[in-house]
Symmetry: C2
Subunit: 247 residues, 2 copies
């Protein structure tokens, strides 16, 4: 049997959000590669080798997965959420670009439920109109680019989803992001902090930008910001489908 | 048994992309409500009533679903893709806002694989960096707002996903969108037309903006536009995880 590399999304946490397509790929895998907490979601079984690795070694992990697939293994690289949204798919293609002999491999990408959509569903429908999705970490891009995108996104009146809003190593940037958003969108704009979505620790909290503090987010939080029309409705927050003219 | 309203995403088309969570909701439903082609995906069974309805009657459909849930039925409103992305979740909340007595109902939203993520997975990883998601239809917003958002999204160097790029009733607007993108992003920028993703008719085609023509899209197409760093790699198209400064 020839090797295959599958890059699969496990969804945000709940097992009943793993697609049957991904479940089938996991069932026939010989090797699972990924960040420690995501590999920990895979049940051990005879014939399956788990290869957990630390954060921020995405290229090493990708090379290892490609080597094993080239050697005939059935390798699944697992990401949380969707592999194409701030996850392993781009990292694997970067590794392939650096070693193009791997282009002859059987590679496939299997989508998953990304955190912002699970968070939006838990909150109501805050992304029900045009929106953007920004990784707030400056690990792989300059912080000034994040600020530039926040301003333009606000001027476009996009609803927004933020991944990796805040970490211990960069506690101040999210405070700056909130400042920019307050300046651009006003203090009454709604913001939802969705922590550990679809897990037993799920916590959803919607406040105004005026009430929001940096401590409301951590690395397990996805942050959703409404557009100018986003409103509360009982326990829900939702963005109407229609919009007026250019603000 | 008291009534419940579930707003569920069926994913882009393939049955193995329907989450187990949604499958379980469908299995215990008494009534399925939705646009004709989506309801047609649900297998009939004793005790289940299917309520297909035409396009552009989202509010009527939502009211009908709410009425049945209030009468004690187990109602599932189905959308293609994810219900929170240009689909039924916002429409149901609009109907609840107009009749707030329904706020006491048991309502839940179940996420699904939205078309842009399935399209991105089939193409490689074109949305692997910050991106935005725009509905190109001017059915519910003025066209000038679409143009405004396209320009700002290009200036933010977002990758982009477009839903509803083109229909028979508005054949010229997508040509205008391509003009704006060529002016803002240059003719070499990559654009992917993903038609009928995850169905037997799936067709993925990546060209440059200079080569793109309006006829490459129809209402079954999701269009993905790369950012300045998006590149081809053999049969794949992908966006690197890292980015430089403000362009």
């Amino acid at each position: 049997m020839s090797g295959r590399l599958t890059i699969a999304g496990l969804g945000p946490g709940a097992e009943d959000l793993v697609t049957p397509e991904v479940r089938a790929a996991l069932a026939t895998a010989t090797d699972i590669v990924g960040y420690i907490p995501y590999v920990a979601r895979i049940a051990p079984r005879p014939g399956l080798t788990l290869h957990p690795s630390d954060n921020r070694v995405e290229l090493d992990r990708s090379r290892h997965a490609l080597e094993m697939a080239a050697a005939g293994r059935q390798v699944v690289v697992v990401s949380s959420g969707d592999p194409g949204v701030f996850a392993m798919a781009s990292a694997v293609f970067e590794a392939v670009e650096a070693a193009p002999e791997y282009l002859s491999l059987d590679i496939r990408v299997l989508p998953g439920i990304t955190a912002m959509l699970a968070a939006a569903a838990a909150a109501g429908a805050p992304l029900g109109h045009d929106f953007c999705c920004i990784n707030l970490s400056d690990n792989l891009k300059p912080w000034e680019l994040v600020e530039h995108r926040l301003r333009l996104a606000a001027q476009a009146d996009f609803a927004m989803a933020f991944y990796n809003p805040r970490s211990k190593s960069r506690p101040h940037q999210f405070a700056r992001a909130l400042e920019i958003l307050r300046a651009e969108c006003g203090s009454a704009r709604l913001i939802t902090f969705a922590r550990a979505v679809t897990t037993p620790e799920q916590a959803i909290r919607t406040v105004t930008l005026g009430e929001a503090t940096p401590e409301m987010a951590d690395m397990r939080t996805v942050v959703l910001v409404g557009n100018a029309a986003t409103k509360r409705l009982g326990p829900w927050v939702y963005t109407p489908r229609s919009a007026g003219g250019v603000v």
